[in-house]
Symmetry: C2
């Protein structure tokens, strides 16, 4: 069967499924664990702590400046593991494809998934492909799950923020969400907005090797920095104070947000992290981040306080203080 | 926000997402690992071998006699782990919901997932929920991934079948596929066809504790017994001979297949397994299966041969022999 489109046959479990797996998927993802093609992947583990995470990706459009749904799916799960201090190791991939989806687009997505997996030093060891009739899904949805190993002595969690901790962001915010939104709406801006999608595990490893006092790591994806800091405030039962003029935002992103009436604090990021670290560890942690390409613009944007546990405040540029709630409603469906 | 339908807000990552997770999902799935609500679940492992598997579920209709998409999603990944001899332990769940999906239907699915997880003795430890606009998906898709521990001395894999092995099936075939198809097409038969969806890990544990010579285990889902036996023939480079009159099929399933022009050998099962075991271990393995509710109808249906490696043959009821190929084309989209 020679075809340039995904057919229902490709999801049948039969001959066409096998052809798709052996000729396309294994071409990009092959490794000794995956190629066994058993119902599960099998690998050895040492005694210790494992991190396990899952995420589904439904981003629209599937290709956007700076990345695509495949790269996002690899980086997203790599980052979810890294936020617990884990070293991501093995990933699963589940595809739901719409009948008629172009095989050339699928090929391009697989290619960028391989590239992303290589950069993050993770292996795709097991997978699944389903095909649904035309109209029952939109082109392609991707799920990735992953496992990683948490090094001894690492204890990072959303509940560990302490009053006095400083809050670090690894770079400019809102790049991903604004890029996808402007693409989808067909808005063209003079400047070249690009998604920040990136694997953050190597950055996290550098931070951990510099300081054993990293209390919290979190990647501010859906709901943005505002929602993520609210989650930390609740989980740790602490207050949060952010300094508006310390938060790095690209000029073109700020401009697009103003034009579209969006608050960048609520926009999704896909290659940024927030960290809470004691004041006397901030300098060394920032220095370690500045050596990594994904942390070169890292800076301090706020602090953890004793006041109003569970609440987030913003000291505004004009000198006032306002409360920053979790995202209410939905600004941007299918952003990741 | 009081609503009886899933809204885009529920996938925003913001307040409505948190409400959905805390009021609905945690209500059914809560456990000490999940309730931390960090980006990853964290758990301790002993040194050894881990099995890791993933599957996406797109079955249509989502509710059918004998089960629903949620139960299928739990049992499917439990079974994929069990087919390597692993004891399934931790599951992730990823939902893709269509805007407008009824919360009461979601509630019903969550409830049956909890029941299935309890029966299989697995914990749901991490998850993700995305909502896509109306028309971008069909009601609900579910991905589950899972990890399990493989006991020492267990070595079960698709490549381990040996000439002389006998082939066992754990019960009647084609029940799931025929049930879903007749439901979808609105066909009503006199008898009550029901899906066989079931967790097979306790059955597998009983088999393993009886015999250390179980070479292959495989659950014949998409593509049915015919496709699965072809996979084993290829992976182990052996021939397969099946005996048509030994293969158990319910009369009503056989009748429905004849009426619809379907070959039950190619129809999906969701609670059955195929095993390859040496001839002198068959009796004790069958005896151990007969004590389990999901193996009470287990029987021998064929054998592994030296002839025609990679091929599957069927000795027919009327005395002939025909080749049984992998499924070509697609009989039943969205069967699981």
């Amino acid at each position: 069967m020679k075809t340039d489109k995904i057919l229902l046959d490709h999801g049948s479990g039969g001959r066409a499924s096998h052809k798709l797996v052996s000729e396309l998927i294994l071409k990009y993802f092959n490794n000794p664990i995956l190629e066994k093609l058993d119902d599960s992947a099998v690998f050895e583990v040492e005694q210790g702590r494992l991190a396990f995470s899952t995420d589904s990706y439904t981003v629209d459009p599937i290709f956007f400046p700076g990345g695509d749904i495949g790269e996002l799916a690899i980086n997203g799960t790599v980052n979810d593991l890294a936020m617990l201090g884990a070293e991501p190791r093995y990933l699963s991939v589940g595809f739901i494809l719409e009948e008629g989806f172009l095989i050339s687009d699928f090929d391009r997505i697989l290619q960028s998934m391989r590239k992303a997996a290589e950069e993050a030093s993770v292996k795709i060891v097991t997978g699944d492909t389903k095909v649904v009739p035309r109209g029952a899904a939109d082109k392609i949805f991707v799920n990735t799950s992953g496992v990683g190993f948490i090094p001894r002595n690492v204890n990072i969690a959303g509940k560990n923020a302490k009053p006095g901790d400083k809050i670090i962001v690894s770079g400019t915010i809102a790049d991903h969400g604004v890029t996808v939104l402007t693409q989808r709406e067909g808005l063209s801006f003079q400047s070249a907005l690009t998604s920040d999608t990136a694997p953050l595990n190597h950055l996290v490893a550098a931070m951990i090797s510099t300081s054993d006092q990293i209390h919290v790591l979190r990647d501010p994806t859906r709901g943005g920095v505002a929602t993520t800091m609210n989650e930390i405030a609740i989980q740790s039962d602490v207050g949060v104070m952010l300094y508006e003029d310390a938060i790095p935002i690209r000029d073109d992103v700020r401009g697009a947000c103003e034009l579209l009436g969006l608050d960048p604090l609520y926009i999704a990021n896909e290659g940024k992290l927030l960290a809470c670290v004691p004041a006397d560890h901030v300098d060394r942690v920032l220095a370690s981040m500045h050596h990594n390409r994904y942390g070169k613009d890292a800076c301090m944007i706020g602090e953890i306080t004793n006041d109003y546990p569970g609440k987030v405040f913003l000291k505004t540029t004009i000198g006032g203080t306002r409360i920053v709630d979790m995202l209410v409603g939905e600004q941007l469906p299918r952003i990741c």
